[in-house]
Amino acid sequence: MERTLAKVTNLTNDDESQHEAAVLLAAKQGDKVAYKTLYHNHVGRVYALCFRLTGDRGLAEDATQEVFIQLWSKLDRFDGQSQFSTWLHSVSANVTVSYLRKQRNWVQRMFNIETSPAMEMPAEADSSQVDLEALVVRLPQRARMVFVLHAIEGYRHEEIAQMLDMAVGTSKAQFHRAKQLLKTWMGCEDE
């Protein structure tokens, strides 16, 4: 029974990956209907990443659009060496960081961290009912981006430093800062 189930699951996965490959190939050849399918298959993951990186719904929507507009001309660069979703995730992170840089208040947001309203946020009453997503978006910009890229997306500090144009030490310090803030907000200070 288990073996049969595994076989069926494998078949389904194979079918899905074959379908994805076909859609991808058609989109690469300029088929907009296929590209729309690709968009619908991946917009949820891309938007989730954009939302965590930007911490703002409007910015995340704009950044998501920017990702898919740029992706259209970047599809040729996908060589199939990795999974498409992994590659798309990396493209999305880079495009979102670039998009945020172009925003008028980028410098202000990156450096005016001490005045962030998030600093005044009270601790969670019950740490067993933590909404980490809500806490992450309230982190100061720089600490949030480093936290999302390192702790959630698995980037190394060296990679993050390059992406965000900062020193490796700064990336580590911002990660530590993010963790300290989350620790306070989650009510885990007394350990």
Binding site: K32, Y35, K36, Y39, H40, V43, G44, R45, Y47, A48, F51, R57, A60, E61, D62, T64, Q65, F68, I69, W72, S73, S127, V130, L132, E133, A151, I152, K179, L182, K183, M186, C188, E191
Partner: protein, 186 residues
Amino acid sequence: MNKFDNALKAEIQRLPKTREPERDLWRGIELSLHSQVSGKADENGLNNEPSGQDKRGTIARLSTKPWLAMAASAMLVSVIWFFSPAFTTDETSGEQPKLAGYALVDALSEQQDDQMTSLLASYDSAPELSENWQAQLKELDDAAGVIKAALKDDPNNRALLKMLKHVYQQQITLIERVHAPKWQQI
């Protein structure tokens, strides 16, 4: 690893992998891709239009530096125009009445009509470098129409407004290019 690290790791694992945007983002993406295609068609049209022996010479002239300088100046004028106080939505603009919603779209379209009418009038007797420029202009006009239709449903969509401005800018640039005097191409 301490208790907090473990708790954090567990919370990260629990984070949803996906999140759906609250508005339809595809329409804006599709329009942007459409406008990219129109831009490419515009460039192709300019490079294909002349016939016979004049063709090679014109292509060479189109690729010279004065041509680029002229295109850049046309772009600059358009950019200055688009960011002029009458159209800014910046809250810091102060005394100028702030245009918002579909009123901004109407104002943009009206200004575009005036600009194009005056440009076409000024180039009335100038020779045209391209024969199919009016078809290209129509294509851009169609693109603007589609964007405006989308803006009717979502008048404050910044991405759509940006696209509309981009299409209008392309129209101005196209008219400038096809009517540029030959001496500017040498």
